[in-house]
Symmetry: C2
Subunit: 271 residues, 2 copies
């Protein structure tokens, strides 16, 4: 089957399977609209310092299933042709990357369908480092959001709310994925916290770990509620120590391949 | 050979071939520094309207060699696992994408090595639509740059200078690549124009066609001078009719895979 045919077939198949969707949150047009189209980038206060929130990655970058997330094969070699390029094999959810609604909802938005205005957002950073140092599976809980609000004011509409657990510093070590027993162990969001953020009108959540849910999650409750609600997530953020808790603008360079469930992204902040 | 070993081997091989490089422009540390590290995003004047400059793409997107630039294969299926993702095969130079120096210089910067501050730039748009309507292989020439300067003032340091030839509207037709005779035919930059832009301290050039050089180029003079100078390009821009000639800030979401010669990017402007 040709590739375009395959894609169209899969799309039709996905749409026809709407009835099978068993996610925890209903996809309502109102929720999608509230979360993704009211963002207004707060650029007017910017001094113009660019902070890269993206890991450089290759086949060694840690992935959920432990297999390489990208493979390289020379497609054109410099010595043969005077220029060069790679043929890459990429499993979408590797490196610093997007989780689009379609990743966890058969009829969700693809990464190419995210509204552009939802990709330029006020950035709110929740510092979870102290909790995560005590418990590798620590979660951002509603009280952490409330503490942020007490210190910084309301969550702006259309915000990206990112967890800084300190995990980005472990990216080159096995401790990024697992504890000493080899069991998944890393911080994430609790569903109660992301429900609160959805009510507040946030467009996006971000983590400096491999998953929106913590490592010991049995049910991927955040993936199965936040994404099917039409919102997106960013996994594997870097550099969050370089941005303030409040006041930066995040640019989310989400890939734009049609029907993508997500994919490696370039994410930067302007402070 | 393992993938990481392959990459390291290629990198060593590239570095050892520096003497073989026959590009037209010398790579000097001064030029690289001038072009890529003086950019200061002009965000303070922004009103916050986001304009997407990226085509959504799939296997049908036109490519230089005429083969699909991306292939999709299901890696995890929703009906089997309750979530889904693709295994993608991507030839780096497809869709709206970056040309990094490494694409045309064996020892050039990879896309992962572009300084983040060079990816948030003042955007200057040269309207070439009238010339391109007369001649499919029209070029941005020094007089077009000079006319832009007369109307808008100096090219800002670290700018991205983009050609709007009207070609983005042809992307779904054969005329995006070739004329009625089946010969490559599309507008691009002249080397004289990009030499002028390098002197002016621009960080980046962008085109709404498949190539920085025009379709009838015999020598890829712009690729072989601009890229080896340490600067980068963007090919396949969309949406340039939606941004002003001057005053927007472009956010270049370049991919960040190590040793990349470029790759599909998310490019947006804030006006």
């Amino acid at each position: 089957m040709c590739n375009a045919c395959l894609i169209e077939d899969v799309k039709r198949s996905m749409l026809s399977r709407r009835a099978l969707f068993t996610g925890a949150a209903a996809t309502t047009a109102a929720a999608v609209t509230a979360g993704l189209t009211t963002a207004r980038p707060a650029l007017a206060q910017s001094a113009g310092r660019v902070v890269d929130l993206t890991h450089a990655y290759d086949s060694d970058f840690p992935t959920f299933d432990g297999n390489p997330g990208i493979l390289y094969e020379p497609a054109v070699k410099f010595e043969d042709s005077g220029y060069q390029l790679w043929k890459l094999t990429i499993w979408e959810h590797t490196g610093t990357h997007i989780d689009a609604p379609l990743h966890f909802a058969a009829d969700g938005r693809s990464v190419a369908e995210l509204p552009p205005e939802s990709l330029v957002c006020p950035l709110c950073v929740i510092d979870l480092k102290a909790k995560a140092a005590e418990d590798a599976n620590a979660m951002v809980e509603p009280e952490d959001i409330e503490a942020w609000i007490s210190a910084n004011g309301e969550i702006p509409a259309g915000a990206c709310v990112a967890m800084n657990s300190g995990w980005a510093d472990k990216v080159a070590t096995p401790a990024f994925r697992t504890n000493a027993e080899g069991t998944f162990a890393f911080p994430g969001f609790s569903k109660a916290a992301t429900d609160l953020l959805a009510d507040a009108g946030a467009a996006c959540i971000g983590v400096d770990t491999m998953s929106l849910d913590p490592g010991d999650s049995a049910d991927f409750a955040v993936h199965y509620s936040w994404l099917p609600s039409g919102r997106y997530g960013i996994e594997g953020l870097a550099g969050l120590d370089g941005v303030p808790a409040k006041g930066a603008t995040i640019f989310v360079g989400a890939p734009k391949h049609k029907l993508g469930t997500g994919g490696p992204a370039r994410v930067m902040a302007v402070v």
